[in-house]
Symmetry: C2
Subunit: 171 residues, 2 copies
DNA sequence: CCCATATAGTTAGCCACCTAATTACTGAGG
DNA sequence: CCTCAGTAATTAGGTGGCTAACTATATGGG
């Protein structure tokens, strides 16, 4: 069963009501933007899983494969964790799945007895190639509602919001 | 162990290289916007979990509590699933946790022998009240890098991207 | 040379999301 | 009536995140 269609977007009125209800003086517009962003982000994440599942992948597995290909050679699980922004434990899990599917191989490191080297298999490279056209096409569709200028602005705002994320996690 | 600091943001150059590598003619800027949005969305989701965990909640559990309070009375799990945009199975899991913590109670429905009615307990309402000031403050911090006008624009663009999400899931 | 500490990778266990299957009840047609 | 399709909620099992703890190897100081 799929998630229910689309939850009605939160309104400015709702935000105002909540803030007033607690006797606070927060800016309803700011709160609304934050809440909508989180909602859209969550929906996008789920849509992304649907998208990648067409190719027998998940978002995490795709990102790992793409990172490997972009890097152009073998990479250690630690390096992968760093460039994907996830923990090493998560990389272990992703690799387990990818190796089971034969998209990736784990080898021992030559220099470090503790280390491993992960490489794309031919099958893995082929998989990326097979999905490329449709993948990029759909990505373009995602932002097709924005003009070229708007996309430029959007990128800039996104960067500033990225910095603002620390407001949620600081202390 | 935390996820590694911050993966370097994908660049326009990277997008161009990938597209060229597959011999496609996609617009690198569009692809970049889509990829960055997904990356920021994912980071925001993780930050949100950190934020809510301060109050002994998760994003999902908070949204459920807030929805109940906003609704002003009891609500069935099905209604909750619809307004949160998740499956009923997910609601069952969230309720299990919330009920264990005493923030919510499940009662039998008067009209429908199959149905349940979920209500906020005093403890649940108090929890929301306790966290309100800090919560809204941090939400404001998230979008503090944007001017009032930019926030207005951002909301509009976000809506259009929300519509574009179907490009990922259609068919 | 050896031990202490640090690092690489994995494992185990938690949470939220999903799908699919199960159980219990409703309500409409024969 | 009574059966049978539909709906409410839960359960079971999978995945990807996380943290914490464990194993194995590296490395630097006495």
């Amino acid at each position: 069963m799929s998630p229910e269609p689309r939850p009605s977007a939160p309104s400015l009125e709702q935000a105002r009501r909540q803030i007033r209800g607690y006797g606070l003086d927060a800016d309803p517009q700011s709160v609304l933007v934050a809440v909508r962003l989180m909602a859209v982000g969550a929906r996008l994440g789920q849509a992304s899983e649907v998208h990648f599942s067409r190719f027998g992948l998940s978002t995490g597995r795709y990102r790992l494969l793409a990172d490997l290909e972009d890097h152009g050679g073998g990479k250690s699980p630690s390096q992968l964790a760093a460039s994907l922004g996830v923990t090493r434990a998560t990389v272990t899990g992703l690799l387990d799945g990818l190796e089971r599917e034969g998209l990736v191989v784990r080898g021992a490191s030559a220099e470090d007895g503790r280390g491993a080297v992960v490489s794309l298999t031919d099958r893995g490279a082929q998989r990326l190639k097979d999905m490329a056209a449709e993948h990029f096409d759909r990505l373009q569709g995602l932002v097709a509602g924005l003009s070229v200028d708007e996309r430029e602005q959007f990128l800039s705002m996104l960067d500033r919001i990225d910095e603002g994320i620390s407001a949620l996690t600081s202390d």
